[in-house]
């Protein structure tokens, strides 16, 4: 893989499931960019699966071990041995950290290596880095999180389609959002492990999985959701961790959220965490909580951070040109004299410029003051994505029409597919 003179940085991979195989695929893709930033070129030095690979050999040939095998027995043994051997470790294993975190973090400190775990909570959403780095030494008052994508998908589906829990779960399984044995997800145990990790970091106190009471979503019904909608609430599986009179409450349970809550609009399999502290008010981080390439991206971010700890702004590699004309959807507001054929003329100008109308609202605003004199009317159009130059060309033509009584106003629309 070495195509320049960057020194190699050897990454041993434990596990080759969804996340492991995505790491194995993405890391070589990003090797050039990473070498540019770090001066080191990452390469996979070995892969351990159930059927192949030898841990000792991989360990001996690696500078860093990525643990994405899951489970708490073998994984713990391998991580312990890697740390003792003075290797950095990046893991996505929440159960391992929720049960054995203090031991492992202690070993990392003793051996002066890094143990990084962004992917263990909320996938690529950078909540671990933000808690550990951006907010170091801050007094955090409370966390709220949607940290399990499976249950969030099921609840969103129940709300959107009126499906029962059982049928939404079956859908989630078919789409790969839920495993064939969904117990850890739907009982809240998976979310509890993640909240244990977040609370440990936020409050600087040991938190074990067994300290986190959890309640799942299996008992929820479509009726609960329907009534809640009448009350203006949305139903989510929420992890919370907060200070209460010098103690801590860390829990996972279904909860209704008012529409204005920053987590209320987190839909589908997305995850999100809100961090509250007097000095920062609150920040919310959201994004995909699972998925092979998403979780692998979090793993790779950790690998890079372990390669070159100090953040630098490297010289740019590119010198991209700047675009003059882009495609956008638009809203157009035109005041016109209310006489026959006005809308047709506007539509014709737009059509000639290749601008296609998505919706129109027309409203009379004032009657003519003398008999026979036309009244005033207002047209509000939304148009489909089009080159800006073409759209503004059409607007200029429309503005020049004698029936237009005020300068038309145009504002861009960012549409559901996030732009053109």
């Amino acid at each position: 893989m070495t195509t320049d003179d960057s020194a190699p940085f050897r990454v041993g991979l434990l596990g080759h499931g969804t996340v492991g195989s995505a790491v194995a695929e993405l890391l070589p893709d990003r090797a050039d960019a990473i070498a540019h930033v770090t001066g080191l070129r990452p390469e996979i030095s070995g892969v351990l699966t159930r059927s192949r690979g030898d841990f000792d050999e991989i360990l001996a040939n690696s500078d860093l071990i990525v643990e994405v095998m899951g489970g708490t027995d073998t994984a713990r043994d391998h991580v312990v041995r890697a740390l003792r051997a003075g290797k950095h470790v990046v893991t996505a294993n929440k159960q391992l950290l929720a049960e054995h975190g203090e031991e492992l973090w202690g070993l990392a400190r003793e051996n002066r290596v890094q143990l990084r775990f962004e992917a263990a909570v909320a996938g690529v959403v950078p909540v671990i880095r933000v808690l550990q780095e951006s907010l170091t030494g801050q007094h955090v008052e409370r966390l709220h999180g949607i940290v399990n994508g499976t249950t969030n998908y099921i609840l969103t589906q129940m709300a959107a389609t009126g499906a029962s829990y059982e049928s939404a779960l079956a859908d989630a399984q078919q789409l790969g959002y839920a495993e064939s044995d969904p117990t850890d997800d739907v009982t809240g145990k998976d979310a509890a492990a993640k909240m244990a990790i977040l609370a440990r970091l936020a409050f600087d106190t040991p938190v074990h999985l067994s300290d986190v009471p959890y309640e799942g979503i299996e008992h929820l019904t479509g009726e609960d959701i329907a009534y809640a909608r009448d009350l203006g609430l949305s139903l989510r599986l929420i992890g919370s961790a907060e200070r209460l009179d010098g103690k801590l409450a860390v829990r996972v349970h279904p909860a209704f959220l008012y529409a204005g809550h920053p987590l209320a609009s987190v839909d589908g399999s997305f995850n999100a965490v809100t961090i509250e502290s007097p000095a920062i008010t609150e920040i919310t981080l959201s994004g995909p909580g699972a998925g092979g390439s998403q979780t692998a991206t979090a793993v790779i971010g950790d690998v890079i951070s372990a390669m070159i700890p100090p953040a630098q702004t490297p010289p740019t590699q590119h010198r991209l040109g700047f675009v003059d004309d882009v495609v956008s959807s638009f809203y157009l507001h035109v005041e016109v004299a209310d006489r026959p054929g006005v809308l047709a003329q506007i539509a014709q100008v737009l059509g000639l410029q290749g601008v296609s109308v998505k919706s129109v609202v027309q409203k009379g605003t004032r009657k003519g003051s003398a008999p026979g004199e036309p009244g005033q009317s207002r047209l509000v159009l939304v148009v489909h994505p089009v080159l800006e130059s073409r759209f503004y060309g059409a607007v200029q033509l429309i503005a020049s029409k004698d029936f237009v009584t005020a300068t038309p106003r145009a504002i861009r629309v960012i549409d559901e597919e996030f732009g053109a």
Copy 2:
């Protein structure tokens, strides 16, 4: 300030306005926590204001310079000299970086010191760290940002109250969300500088303020917003940066967002940035984009990162107890026989347990099948925050009533004030 044997880390402060004075106040407050994490104790080694302090003296006595004075002339001179002197620099100055970033980042690399600038874009929202660290080497496709709190506050007010632009601006000025000369904010220039910085990091190509066309919000009317509401859109000042056929488009302009867009629900003076990339789908970061203590928190996060680059998980300092019983709001669903006095009895049980009812919906579900036989009815209540043990005690009493025909269902409600 040194109360233990941590070595001092000397921070020179340039500027003592809103952000500078908050840094001077918060840094000593957090010194113990920072010493715990880094082994170094930060202390303010000098403050430069317009009327007092000597830059050369402060520079000589500092390990790191915090530049929060603003402007691009003196600030640039001081930052250049600090970097050349081998000192780390933390700055909140977006105009400085949007105009002279390449020079300054280059100087930092040459002198092997850090130049950090989280506070320059979106205040405490950790978008710089996420772009530089979590997403190192990722192919970013597009960014969308609400990166100016003043204009977002004005637009939110116009939508919420129907106020005109002029009156919403006056409100914002009175509340301190807008400066007495709001030109840079309302014209989009401030947002353009921030987008130049974000685009530079995301796309690894030089981006100067002059490469970013911008359009402000001064020409928007309450009518635009009212019509947009009819169309299901919300109006925001949006910064965008995206790849288009190997070139870049970085712009700032008002835009309508569909209700489902992750930025559509960002209200008031909050900022938010959405980062899109094939590998990560999209992540959204949101929080306060300004404010003294919020921006100072971002500055201090950068100071800490410069003090001890490798992220470690330090041993916990606390051993907090766990709370058994917490206060929560609840939704309660009870199926009852539809006979007189049922609601009164339930209300009485709740009242005796100190549970206060916020809202009730009652609905008949089935008529009695024989004359004189009571029908079925369903009660859905939302109660005000109360200790869980008391609430569940009341639910148990209610469940034991002979008119209750199914196990009541209780689900927590997270209320508008984010819990009790």
